[in-house]
């Protein structure tokens, strides 16, 4: 008997699936083979008939067919007015199908920020929510007390999209029974225990407060361009993307897409400032101390950084 896995797409763009197709060592095929995954359904990959697919779905919901892993991609759409009719399958709100399958699954995994926290539409009449969180608040579709039959809560793998290495890493850990310590949002610390900022090649510019004021420069993007690298956690500069790079390395601010608040309600390319100091400061830092530290750091900045000689 293999490990049965059912992948359900709800209110999303399919980007986590596209990201997963980029997985390396193991790639998607190797992962399925190594973990002996019996992929009951994936909306982009399966070619079974609709009739057979819905038979699987019914059997899972009725407890006839055991389900090891339920993966949900995309937000749970509750609108309009809590009916869920903005996103339906077989005339039924998808959110209800997810809730019914989650009760039968050994593990439930939310892939991407939409499935984890609601993401796009969580502040509009679309009424999106996450599986077990609504933004920062525990609850979401399944409720704060939900535990899958393994005894674990929903494992949240946030990111827009989620990094493919995180998806394959988390699935491997669950199947192999490897313990994954979680953070306060039920995300594995292995990938959400460090700031995006860690590993950014612009780090030294941040350290000495050499600020980028417009695109095309080498300085730090945190002070003016809206970068969330020092504010949110995630693996982008640890694992890198497509084996090559990350947004901050390519001069694009981190938008904090792993955060429960994503998409934030303020403009993405601007840093909110109070007298030249960002409103939001790196986690756990004292504002007055930060001000002193950064003033001194800027004064100590070596010439090679001030003149942007150091490459990124």
């Amino acid at each position: 008997m293999g490990v049965s896995l059912y992948w359900f797409q709800c209110g999303g763009c399919g980007g986590d699936t596209m990201s997963f197709l980029n997985a390396e060592e193991p790639d998607l095929i190797q992962l399925i083979d190594a973990l002996k995954i019996d992929l009951l359904w994936h909306p982009s990959l399966s070619n079974i008939s609709a009739k057979q697919h819905f038979a699987f779905q019914d059997d899972i919901i009725n407890g006839v067919r055991p389900l090891d892993i339920l993966v949900v991609e995309g937000s749970l759409i509750r609108g309009p007015t809590r009916t869920g009719m903005f996103d339906v399958q077989r005339g039924r709100p998808k959110k209800d199908l997810v809730a019914a399958m989650a009760r039968r699954a050994r593990f439930v995994v939310a892939v991407g920020t939409c499935a984890s926290f609601g993401g796009f539409g969580s502040d509009t009449y679309v009424q999106s929510t996450g599986l077990q969180f609504h933004k920062r608040e525990p609850g979401g579709l399944l409720g704060a007390d939900f535990l899958a039959s393994s005894g674990l809560p929903v494992i949240n793998l946030s990111g827009c999209p989620c990094h493919p290495g995180v998806i394959s890493g988390a699935l491997s850990a669950l199947v192999e029974g490897v313990k994954m310590p979680l953070d306060e949002f039920n995300r594995p610390l292995a990938w959400y225990g460090m700031l995006i900022h860690q590993g950014c090649t612009r780090n030294e510019y941040h350290e000495y407060r050499v600020e980028e004021t417009d695109f095309g420069q080498k300085g730090c993007l945190f002070f003016h361009k809206g970068c969330h690298g020092p504010l949110v956690t995630g693996p982008c500069n640890k694992l890198l993307w497509n084996r090559r790079s990350s947004k901050t390395r390519a001069g694009v601010p981190c938008f904090g897409c792993t955060s429960p608040d994503f998409p934030q309600d303020y403009p993405f390319f601007q840093t909110r400032n109070i007298e030249g100091v960002p409103v939001a400061l790196p986690q756990g830092i004292n504002r007055a101390n930060y001000l002193v530290y950064k003033t001194m750091a800027a004064a100590a900045a070596p010439e090679r950084l001030k003149s942007r000689k150091t490459d990124i």
Binding site: G11, N22, N47, K51, Y125, F215, G216, W241, N242, Y266
Partner: protein, 510 residues
Amino acid sequence: MANRIVCDIPLNRAEGDLEIKVAIDDGHVVDAWSVGTMFRGFEQILVGRGAFDGLVVTPRICGICSTTHLMAAAQALDAVAKVRPPGNAIRLRNLALMAETVQSDVRQSVLMFLVDFANPAYASYRFHAEVVKRYAPLAGERCIDVIKATKYMLEIVSLIGGQWPHSSYMVPGGVAYPVNGPDIVSCRHILRNFRLWYEKNVLGCPLETWNALASVSDLDAWLADKAHRESDVAFLLRLSKETGLDGLGRGSERFLSYGSLDLPDDTMLRSCDGGTQLIPSGLYEKGRVQLFNPNLILEHVDHSWYADEPEPLHPSHGMTEPYASGSEGKKYSWSKAPRYDGLPAETGPLAERLIAGDPLFTDLISRRGNNLVTRQLARLTRPAITIPAMETWLSEILEHSGSPCYTPVDESQLEGEGAGLIQAARGALGHWVRIENGRISHYQIITPTAWNGSPRDGEGRRGPWEEALIGTPVKDPDNPVEVGHVVRSYDPCLVCTVHRVGRSGAVLQL
């Protein structure tokens, strides 16, 4: 009408699922409705946000073509700012978009289209065992190979923009950061490896050999050559012939391209129509190309779940007010119905080839009429013309190395209206934006799938793939593989139908 049945067919292996409702009479489709069943409200999310925020929000509309939304959003803001990016910025933007498009063309053709030939419906055909070996989902040799090769192609996007999918490196005025010479050289290695793989496995011959085919008889001779028979292109053509699909999926014979890939001032590449874009714009109908006029685009909502409007609106002042109760069952989709000069139009790679005057595809359409095989062939072979253009632009970037990649645009000073009209992988994509006081006050998007998969309009005219389904034989309503072939030949991207098509479900209703 004793044998008339109506089925709701959930269609997966589209980017997002889709529900096709068909009426079948004596084993043939006699009517069809394309039903989008998900609404995500992206246009409303944008209103009130920062002027540049479309660059972050709109790529998240679609996981397989996020770069195309980024390009349309950036070009719409270029238009608002009245700025033309420097030459190398145009090249970098184009390269990223082309890399994504090549990825999409090959992934869709093999993982989503050819996979259907491994369906049990074809179990009695002599090709079946071989096709299962090649194209079975997640197990077929070609599927495994395509997953591997396409992801390396996407590393070009990552080297330019940091990651794929969902980055925001195209900004009004250019790109966020220049790419250094060694990374451009890496892009050339990636592209070279991809070209060799594509020629050997997908095309079965050098790009130049394929690009020299100029008529149906050239194509027949190419197919008869044993050297080509193991390629995916040959399989597409042979399987379609053996299963009798080559006459199906005619649809509308009106083809639309907005034009795409701006030419830098000092490039060696030339547009075939002498214009300013590598992919020309136009409307192809009855063998003639007419000039494209963006003012002739209107969106109907008569059959869509939106509040009725007195008349169809141009997207620069279109509305998106969900109205889900439907007027007596008349409304049936979350997709609006875009029309060009009052009529439906098909868009995608085939439209691009016809409007560009490609001799092979012009001959195919004039001799055989529009059909699903020609539509899919245009997609699977588009990389043959895309890859050489990418090679030229990579070389030109190195020749102009050190030149600027960004012309400053101040977000806080931005004011006015603009449109970004491009050719995405699936066809014509438009973003229409208005900025007031540094904030977005209006945003409308029309996607390629809104064109191809549109519901009926105010005159009751079907959308292109609704029309293409008429006459399609359906042997087994429980496994209507023929309907899948027709609709998938348009490369449906349902998450992309912003307003917003998606998902379905549905059991057979007898």
